[in-house]
């Protein structure tokens, strides 16, 4: 059982900590609610460019000095921009927590946005577009998003964004986004491990976060997807196709999300124990990897099934997934499959306690989406209470076969050669 201690440092910054006796380190997650959802409309890529620029120097440390200070702690740290938030994910030794948080806060609150450093970040992003153009997974990801989301929706692109925007974004634009979405937005700090003195350390590090109400949210167009469509794109000189079947899911705060997690597990979340994964890989040998996932965001986030398939087997693999999904939608779910899905999700909560990072991630979701202070205590029972009817209802509404976007990227299919 996780015992979470919480503090509200300002109306924009919440902190949660979990003590794990007997460990020497602290896992630290800082979620800045400045991901794609909070990006200026039509400016896809600005959130990630802004976030990456935080690592390129502050008003008090040049980029080399900041990196040197981090490495001298031996701390692990990365910064990823996601659909909902930009995440600092890291780990440090317990005795370094104050210094580590100081560095993270410095980058978050006082980035320099020097022109040369922004150009450094831009150059890397543009190169990533170039690399992704020949990466079958990235191409499939781009395609299904273009099919599923309307123009202007934040999830129409990956966090990397739109290349034209990335090329044209100005320093002023990034600074404005920093003021609006990061300093003016909300953040959550979660720490797990040897956390003695952690709240004071966060208060010292982030104490000058500007107070005030959250900045007005960007209006996000409602995503509707009421057709089935598929696009195949040839990526030269590849051996395997990456295939994505994508649907629109519900926000994390939707009461049906827990049932959706169970439905996802019944469907394909586990390659071996879920239905589509088992049939596609274990029974038919059509793919090495096949799995489904549902993201938690404030909007209609993607619900996807992804698999890597030889071009000869693409049609059969898609048909097999659809057949398994049709059974779920029809209510053809064995009691054992349903109980296994529920048990696995509950069991993963226990096994996840084995590392500070695992504990911190469990806490983060509840804190980020305001699921309630007692969420972690209630969550196992919520999972166990999901009924077959609820799973079927969620699948019928959200995983409709006629409202699926299918993306295939890789070598030519037999019909294309």
């Amino acid at each position: 059982m996780i015992r979470v201690e919480r503090r509200v440092l300002t109306d924009r910054l919440r902190v949660a900590a979990v003590e794990i006796p007997g460990v020497r380190s602290v896992s630290v997650l800082v979620a800045l609610e400045a991901g794609q959802w909070f990006e200026p409309r039509g400016r896809a890529g600005v959130a990630r460019l802004t976030a990456q620029s935080l690592l390129r120097g502050t008003l008090t440390h040049g980029p080399a000095a900041w990196g040197e200070a981090l490495d001298e702690l031996g701390a692990g740290a990365r910064l990823d921009t996601g659909a909902h938030a930009a995440f600092f994910t890291g780990q440090c030794l317990a005795e370094d927590l104050r210094a580590y948080l100081g560095l993270v806060a410095d980058a978050t609150l006082r980035p320099a946005f020097a022109s040369a450093e922004v150009e450094f970040v831009r150059t890397h992003a543009v190169a990533q577009f170039e690399e992704d153009a020949t990466d079958t997974r990235a191409v499939a990801d781009r395609i299904f998003r273009e099919l599923l989301y309307p123009v202007g929706h934040p999830f129409r692109t990956r966090a990397l964004g739109d290349e034209a925007v990335v090329r044209s974004a100005t320093v002023d634009e990034l600074q404005a986004h920093h003021r609006q979405a990061i300093l003016g937005g909300r953040a959550v700090v979660v720490m797990a491990g040897a956390v003695e003195g952690a709240f004071a350390a966060v208060a010292d590090a982030f104490g000058d976060w500007p107070a005030g109400p959250r900045s007005a949210l960007v209006a996000v167009p409602h995503a509707r997807f009421e057709r089935g469509i598929r696009r195949d794109e040839v990526v030269a000189d590849k051996t395997q196709c990456d295939v994505i079947l994508g649907w629109l899911a519900m926000p994390r705060t939707d009461p049906r999300f827990t049932a959706a997690r169970v439905a996802n597990m019944v469907f394909a979340a586990d390659t071996f124990a879920s239905r589509a994964g088992h049939v596609v890989r274990d029974e038919l040998g059509l793919a090495y990897y096949v799995f489904s996932s549902i993201q938690g965001t404030l909007g209609e986030s993607p619900w996807t099934l992804r698999m890597g398939v030889n071009p000869e087997n693409v049609e059969r693999a898609i048909a097999t997934v659809n057949a398994e999904l049709a059974k779920i939608i029809a209510g053809d779910i064995a009691d054992d499959d349903l109980s296994l899905a529920r048990d696995k999700l509950v069991g993963e909560l226990v096994v996840g306690l084995e590392s500070p990072g695992g504990v911190a991630h469990q806490v983060l979701e509840a804190e980020l989406f305001g699921l309630g202070d007692d969420h972690l205590a209630r969550y196992p029972d919520l999972l166990r209470a999901v009924t077959k009817d609820e799973v079927v209802a969620v699948a019928r509404e959200f995983l409709r076969l006629d409202r699926c976007a299918i993306a295939v990227a890789g070598p030519p299919l037999p019909t294309q050669t």
């Binding site: 794990i20 020497r24 380190s25 990456q52 690592l55 980029p63 080399a64 990196g67 040197e68 981090l70 490495d71 001298e72 031996g74 692990g76 740290a77 990365r78 910064l79 990823d80 890291g90 780990q91 440090c92 150059t123 190169a127 170039e130 992704d132 153009a133 020949t134 079958t136 089935g228 598929r230 696009r231 195949d232 794109e233 990526v235 030269a236 000189d237 590849k238 051996t239 071996f272 124990a273 088992h278 029974e283 040998g285 059509l286 793919a287 090495y288 890597g308 030889n310 109980s339 296994l340 048990d343 696995k344 069991g347 226990v350 096994v351 306690l353 084995e354 590392s355 990072g357 294309q416």
Partner: protein
């Protein structure tokens, strides 16, 4: 230090307590991998690893998958050049059952012919997925070129043709030959007394009969007498890559600790990682605008292997410039002592990474097993103490000993021009 017990059948058990979470992590390490294969059967150990999930005489295919899934367990396996390893991290009340299942599949796997054929396609698919990556293509070719005699040159997954030709009888013979208690060891870490962890493991494995001892393969690699170079060209990659591999000693060599520290000093990084940006390679290649990311690695291996440097080039930069920069950094490390502050940083990084891994039950079990498998050390704490004792002189001397022209392999990945085509269609309509 782990508590160790050797059973009458030769199986060695190692147990460590980790009481911060109600879980137990169990790892069974077999001394068989790509190193034990010969041309014509490359990939056999890895193929066999897949077959160990396809049922035993007591438990039909799928039963374990569902059982471990129901517990929420981490349940997996991997094959390397040196070992094949099976692992599960389970709620503590389940670990005795998990041990029973591992003992069962040590000798009783079916390796059913029908399942072999079905799994063959999965493994081909695994290989084809890897082939989509330019990094893999270049790395596989470089490894093949680096070794003239030693089976390390064959890699792990095997060639696609040999995967397709693999027979059930060949796989089964490989299984019976190598999956023996006297050719394996167990690491078990978790929320129970170490003695009790050992007792439970002994109860599960003691009845497994020993077999004919397996002699280690003897294929010593002769000295390399000059630089080797190779180029891989493909359209399936947009960015050029440089990989350089130097001959490096085995894990039990006295230089192994110093080379581990050397890899940390050279370091690297890139992408979303904020760590490693003060490393020598990052500064010399990424900050300077030559590369997008870069890295250095030295792996603990049973036999002499390779020390790698690599970089993904920034568009428009020539391979030669990046190669020169990588070699220049290697030469500097071999020429001068690390300054005091940098030396302290490297030590701190090694200390911290050890703590991070050990703070996870699974990580502690893995690190212990990896050191034991190669003979590098008897425990994480012993290895760590040796790392902390490494001097700046030893790092420089170790670098000087391996960063030499005649024992290196240089590989370039060169992207070629490609065209593509897109096809849209409503579902159900022929394209």
């Amino acid at each position: 230090m782990p508590l160790t017990r050797t059973l009458a059948n030769g199986l060695v058990l190692h147990a460590l307590e980790a009481r911060h979470a109600p879980v137990v992590s169990l790892w069974v390490w077999y001394h068989v991998g790509g190193r034990n294969e010969v041309p014509g059967t490359t990939g056999m150990s890895h193929f066999l690893e897949h077959m160990l999930f396809k049922g035993t005489t007591a438990h039909p295919k799928g039963e374990l998958d569902r059982l471990f899934a129901r517990w929420g367990a981490s349940f997996n396996a991997f094959t390397s050049e040196d070992v094949t390893c099976y692992l599960e991290t389970v709620p503590k009340e389940r670990y005795a059952t998990a041990l029973e299942h591992e003992a069962d599949r040590m000798r009783n796997a079916l390796v059913d012919p029908v399942e072999v054929d079905a799994e063959r396609n999965v493994i081909v698919s695994e290989r084809e997925g890897l082939e989509n990556s330019p990094d893999f293509l270049l790395g596989e070719t470089l490894q093949a070129v680096a070794f003239d005699r030693h089976p390390y040159g064959q890699g792990v997954i095997g060639s696609k043709d040999e995967i397709k030709l693999m027979t059930r009888d060949g796989l089964y013979a490989h299984y019976r030959r190598h999956y023996l208690p006297n050719n394996a060891f167990v690491v078990i870490v978790g929320d129970d007394e170490a003695e009790r962890l050992l007792d439970q493991a002994e109860a599960a494995f003691a009845r497994v009969e020993a077999g004919e001892p397996v002699a280690p393969p003897r294929a010593p690699e002769p000295p390399q007498m000059g630089e080797k170079r190779l180029v891989v060209r493909r359209a399936g990659g947009a960015l050029p890559i440089v990989q350089i591999a130097f001959r490096a000693p085995r894990a039990t060599d006295p230089l192994a600790c110093a080379l581990t520290a050397a890899a940390a000093a050279l370091g690297g990084g890139g992408g979303s990682s904020a760590s490693g940006r003060s490393s020598r390679l990052y500064r010399a290649l990424v900050e300077s605008g030559l590369a997008l990311n870069t890295g250095a690695s030295f792996q603990l291996m049973k036999d002499p292997h390779l020390f790698y440097l690599d970089a993904t080039l920034k568009p428009g930069v020539a391979h030669a410039d990046v190669e020169r920069a990588l070699l220049n950094e290697a030469a500097k490390l071999a020429g001068d002592l690390l300054p005091e502050r940098e030396f302290a940083k490297v030590k701190r990084q090694l200390l911290a990474s050890s703590a991070y891994a050990s703070d996870s039950v699974t990580g502690r079990a893995f690190r212990t097993g990896r050191l034991l498998a190669t003979g590098a050390a008897g425990s994480v704490s012993e290895w760590h103490a040796r790392l902390q004792a490494v001097t700046a002189d030893e790092i420089r001397d170790a670098a000087r000993g391996i960063f030499i022209e005649r024992s290196r392999v240089v590989g370039h990945f060169i992207p070629e021009e490609a065209g593509g085509a897109a096809h849209d269609g409503a579902i159900g309509v022929a394209r």
